[in-house]
Amino acid sequence: MAHGPSENFFSRWLFSTNHKDIGTLYLWFSFAMFLLGGAFAMVIRAELFQPGMQLIKPEFFNQMTTMHGLVMVFGAIMPAFVGLANWMIPMMIGAPDMALPRMNNLSFWILPFAFAILVSTLFMEGGGPNFGWTFYAPLSTTYAPDTVNYFIFGVHIMGASSIMGSINIIATVMNMRAPGMTYMKMPLFVWTWVITAFLLVAVMPVLAGAVTMMLMDINFGTSFFDAAGGGDPVLFQHVFWFFGHPEVYIIILPAFGVVSQIIPTFSRKPLFGYSSMVYATASIAFLSFIVWAHHMFTVGMPIAGELYFMYATMLIAVPTGVKVFNWVTTMYKGALTFETPMLFSIAFVILFTFGGFTGMMLSIAAADTQYHDTYFVVAHFHYVMVAGAVFSGTAAVYYWLPKWCGRMYDETMGKLQFWIAFIAFNITFMPQHFLGLAGMPRRYSDYGLQFADWNMVSSIGAFMYGGAQLLFLYNVIRTIGWGKPIDDPQVWEGAEGLEWTLPTPAPFHTFSTPPIVK
């Protein structure tokens, strides 16, 4: 069926089963959520600009930190990578579409409802969720606002969406590869996504289980997490982090995939150590299941448990190191150019590794006693989440946008965005290391005068970083509407892979007859 998209706007987007349209929906949705979560972050940083409560009340501050975390993790980063997967995986493996197009439509369209429910709690009596994105019991059960039930409902829907998306990706990759596209020939982005999809299928149900147990404790008198009835609040943390640790790799693995596509292109040289990259990704995914309690070094675990989780966590440095060395060696003896996607990817490698270093420091249980739940941790995970996931997502958009819409972005504007984002990011989050080491705990709506200076620096950086995102939005819209038209299928001189054999812009239906991969 080689017809184009529906002429009717509503039937095209609402009932779409086309992987490219659904990918586009995911990407725009995630960007909207990114701006919303960013707006929450701006509120947080504005309040923390100076000591004292200037703009908002402490209870609203807690809702802001919670919603910032939830919206960024589940609304911005995860859907962004699902959007990229939708667009790119069929084109990379030579498939005409995703395996389950109608489920694909459903898995996207339930997301806006999940977030509408979640965000609407902010306007309800008692306010939105205020217990942090980790929602530890009993703050999120016995002591939660009544809106917690909406939160639980929202999390269930997001989970269902992610699970459906993952099953779709698994089915597509397992069954729809073009003839000759063996597993070990798949682009690394596809590999990292398959592994991510397996992680999602394994741990999203655990999150669903955790919120279900919460729901029962709150409404049906069970006591999974209530010590009075023989439960244990610490059990919640174990269940949550059994989901939560794989979750952070769910966020970062596709980012690894993106960077592994971009660096070879602009080095004009094949990816170094392809198979070791695949094995490293798989071992990171495996390790993610056996290190969860390193988020809980201060709950008073027995020393044997603490030692085990410390050693296991330190091990993650090995496969992660392999990846970094591979990227650097890919660049070695290449012919490098520094277009915007490459700049973001190089910044990714450096800043992600920096976040990895602080991660290793955090794994040392005795030192973690000092770091735990301070701004040092906040700085650490923003180095891996923002400079990791968000930078690579931005790189991916600049890298593939010309292929998607047949227009070239403005290189100067792209570079301008990169430099503002890069500098602002470091101004925002580097001082947070110092704040944490000096003793400022996270999720604080107010702080002592000794933290005032670095907080102000951090807030200024955050506003700049927020501005850089508006520039990004402008660049994307300008490219789609008024960018210089191109029709070179290759787009980038060094690009390799099936997606670059397709015409530019990529037509609505591609690979209706599968290509033969040699």
Binding site: N62, N130, P138, I303, A335, M360, I364, A365, F434, L449
Partner: protein, 381 residues
């Protein structure tokens, strides 16, 4: 081109430079603090040492890897006319960079393990102190001594909301600090009353979660007298940032005198319960208690926060019978932030604050509430 290269180089190198900076700077400078305090206990010094080892190991690895990367970015630029090589694997190198980091990690596991063993060495304490986290204050109980008190934030609402200049110890001052003797091994038994809190004193490297229904232990022993300020580090609700930990380390003799004084206070206090208090005395005392224990939720003029914390102005409890008002302070409201103040405030404090609430902000009950009424209520309810 080469100018751009240099700018790129410096820009990308900045995190590495800053991390060096973080490692080398002294921690004394108040506002621009960069590093973890070394602290005053064996455990905190062990934590600091392993922290510094990690920083240096990471810095060396970072400088090597990124130094190489920057060299590549300079030397292998297309604009310099290079052509790309085509190699994409080298088994020896790949095995080497798997094994070498693993070996480094094994070496680092040794000091990491010894440091952790120190953290867990809670045996044979000289003094046991029970620390209980409440929303949003700490209770300290000297086990076996019969001394127990609440430690609450002393910073006023006016300072927090910009209606008064912030004092030097903004958010770092409490009504009564925890006092411990120098040169004695003090064991902290930490638990929570409502939600999970976490008791942290950076200078002791003591951070343990305060979990309701569960006890965790930590210890400290120091020869340095002084005042050490810490914080609650587990999100526990709206005033999470307003329950500082303040510990005062005193010489042993001073500590003994302090403890004896505390015990005496309790005896003297008993005699004040029976006394008839005047309106002015009750109002003055009540206002002070209100500011510390009530204003955080019910707000400084009793207006509350709609939908979250009820207003006291014109409230049915405040303008109802005295017994009901005493009852809610003594028993609290289960499952809400309204705690039972029976063990947190003295009878005098409870009587005074009730009297204050009933006769302020337009509430005009005109009745008198005496400590002995509270005592009777407690005994006969």
């Amino acid at each position: 081109m080469s100018k751009r290269a240099r700018a790129l180089f410096l820009g990308l190198l900045s995190p590495a430079i800053l991390s060096l900076f973080a490692g080398g700077a002294s921690a004394e400078d108040a506002g621009w603090n960069l590093n973890m305090p070394r602290g005053v206990t064996e455990v905190s010094q062990a934590a600091y040492d392993i922290h510094m080892i990690m920083i240096w190991v990471c810095t060396v690895i970072g400088v090597l890897v990124f130094g190489f990367m920057f060299y590549i970015m300079f030397a292998h630029r297309k604009s310099r006319g290079v052509t790309a090589a085509n190699f994409h694997e080298n088994l020896t190198v790949e095995i080497l960079w798997t094994i070498v980091p693993a070996l480094i990690l094994i070496v680092m596991a040794v000091p990491a393990t010894t440091a952790l063993l120190k953290v867990y060495d809670t045996e044979n304490p000289d003094i046991d102190i029970k620390v209980t986290g409440y929303q949003w204050k700490w209770q300290y109980e000297y086990i076996g001594e019969g001394v127990k008190f609440m430690s609450e934030l002393r910073t006023s609402q006016d300072e927090q909301y910009g209606r008064a200049p912030k004092g030097e110890h903004y958010l770092r001052e409490v009504t009564q600090p925890l006092v411990i003797p120098a040169n004695k091994k003090v064991r902290f038994l930490i638990t929570g009353n409502d939600v999970i809190h976490s008791w942290w004193v950076p200078d002791f490297a003591v951070k343990r979660d305060a979990i309701p229904g569960l006890f965790t232990a930590a210890w400290a022993k120091t020869d340095q007298t002084g005042v050490y300020v810490g914080a609650c580090t587990e999100l526990c609700g709206k005033d999470h940032s307003r329950m500082p930990v303040v510990v005062e380390v005193k010489e042993e003799a001073e500590y003994d005198a302090w403890l004896a004084g505390k015990k005496e206070e309790a005896v003297i206090y008993q005699s004040t319960i029976g006394k008839e208090w005047t309106n002015d005395e009750l109002m003055a005392k009540g206002e002070a208690v209100y500011a510390v224990s009530c204003a955080g939720c019910h707000q400084s003029a009793g207006q509350g926060i709609p939908g979250v914390f009820p207003a006291l102005v014109g409230s049915s409890i405040v303008t109802g019978p005295v017994e009901g008002h005493i009852g809610i302070l003594i028993n609290g409201v289960a499952g809400s932030a309204m705690q039972s103040f029976a063990d947190q405030l003295s009878e005098v404090d409870i009587a005074a604050v009730i009297h204050y609430k009933r006769n302020s902000w337009g509430n005009d009950m005109g009745d008198m509430v005496q400590p002995v009424d509270v005592l009777n209520y407690k005994q006969n309810q």
